[in-house]
Amino acid sequence: MREISADLVVETVRALCIEANQTLPADVSRRISACREREPWPSARATLEILGQNAEIARDEQVPLCQDTGMACVFLEVGQDVHIFGMGLREAVDEGVRRGYADGALRKSIVADPLRRANTRDNTPAMLHTDIVPGDRLTVTVAPKGIGSENMSRLVMLPPSAGEAGVKDFVVETVRLAGPNPCPPVVVGVGIGGSFDLVAALAKKALLRPLDSPNPDAFYAGIEAELLGRINALGIGPQGFGGKTTALGVNIEVYPTHIAGLPVAVNINCHVTRRAHAVL
């Protein structure tokens, strides 16, 4: 059994909250640059140029990329041979979020209750996902998520007869309906299979995979590429002002499901797709 201090979890989450909000992941930056090179529409190219400049300013001056510093979505992979000591694991994660959002001058965007809507003033609680995995490591990923794109996300329980074509059409239709609202170019996280709750989590986890890592299953990698082509033929473009670059990438995660079901979830992320991770 490996011992990990909860204080280390607090400090790690704190640092990752700040890093993720100030520094665009390298794969996202590279993809924005590559799309700018291939963008045939002048105003769209100009917008992509602005996104690159914004990322440079945020990184160099250590300020948030976007004013919506998001919900602190935290993903833990806890090795089953790890023992956390000092405080509860959730308590440690929330304390890390509290310190990160205070020390990083990040916006506090969480209300304590969805209808009564009083701000918690420290951006807690985290949106926490915990998986128990083999081994003695603790992997921490912080992926701050803005609500502008979150609000454009959709979930459907398709009948199996809808098949591959039904899934693809639902994904493309979700991006079309979102239009300019989620700050395109978007990153599209798709979950297919599982249950009602699991498929949404799959879609969110799909957003954690780097844009230059296609699905390891060639069948799904092909669907990812095909969907990206269809989405980028919609013409929405950066900011919805028209252009080729509507999406930077499409990532699909799948899971076994019921003989009578075909759940599909589409979690839209903006061009500021943020994530930072550490292995303890």
Binding site: A44, E61, A105, R107, G148, G179, P180, N181, C183, G242
Partner: protein, 248 residues
């Protein structure tokens, strides 16, 4: 094709917009125009809008329902006689308790991050505008001339903008670090308890934006996409054949 590229070229050729934004200046702007906004603007988003509209409702109740309708009718009659009919339905006087001068004002839908020491303001990009659609017509009818945000507006908002001569600007969503460089001063006007959602008065210099919906109802989200699709069709950039893998 030449026309398409012509309208697209405007991104390099920005129009200077200053506050207060007059009705005449707003009417001259067209969807797709790149603008640089300088002057004083005000921030408001969901919670602040709800309070502003509560204030207007309370004021209306104080004056009595009939008084309001009477005012409008009298004003419409007077305006028609003086040739100001077009502005008549938008000439409601704001309550004396309204916290900032709304006539010819520009509102920025933003909730910035906290300022770091030495900063005027934190990162400050636009939030999605449709959440303000339920409230916006009430403010436009008071003479609000411009709104800065991102994303689509409702048919009701666009109809009100056309009726009253207002314009909707889009700033680049997610470019908050860059946009904050164009904000040179910030102070809280009211609703300080709302934190990032408090109404702030901002000084802006050459704040970059694009006219998304103009006072005639022209909408860049439709026009821009159609122009690009026409261009793509002309250059065979349309959808790849089924099964083909695009390079990206």
């Amino acid at each position: 094709m030449a026309e398409t590229m012509g309208s697209d070229k405007k991104t390099c050729d920005a129009i200077r917009v200053t506050t207060p934004l007059t009705r005449e200046a707003a009417l001259a702007l067209r969807a797709g125009d790149a603008v640089l906004i300088s002057g004083t603007i005000y921030t408001a988003r969901d919670a602040a809008h709800a309070r502003l509209v509560e204030l207007l409702d309370a004021d209306k109740a104080d004056r009595g329902d009939n008084a309001d309708h009477g005012d409008s009718a009298n004003r419409a009659d007077r305006d028609a006689r003086t040739g100001r009919a077009a502005d008549a339905v938008c000439a409601t006087e704001p309550t004396a308790r309204f916290p900032f001068p709304i006539r010819d004002a520009i509102l920025y839908y933003v909730g910035p991050t906290p300022a770091k020491p030495g900063q005027v303001i934190g990162s400050a990009g636009p939030t999605t505008s449709y959440r303000m659609d339920a409230y916006a017509p009430r403010l436009i009818e008071l003479g609000l001339r411009g709104m800065i945000g991102k994303g689509r507006r409702s048919a009701q908002v666009v109809e009100c903008m056309k009726r009253c001569g207002a314009v909707y600007f889009g700033a680049v969503g997610g470019a908050a670090a860059l946009l904050s460089k164009h904000i040179t001063a910030s102070r809280v006007v009211c609703y300080e308890d709302l934190g990032a959602e408090a109404i702030h008065e901002l000084r802006v210099e050459d704040f970059p934006a694009t006219v998304v919906i103009d006072a005639l109802g022209g909408d860049l989200y439709d026009i821009g996409v159609q122009n690009y699709l026409d261009f793509a069709a002309a250059h065979a950039l349309a959808a790849p054949p089924p099964g083909a893998l695009p390079a990206l």
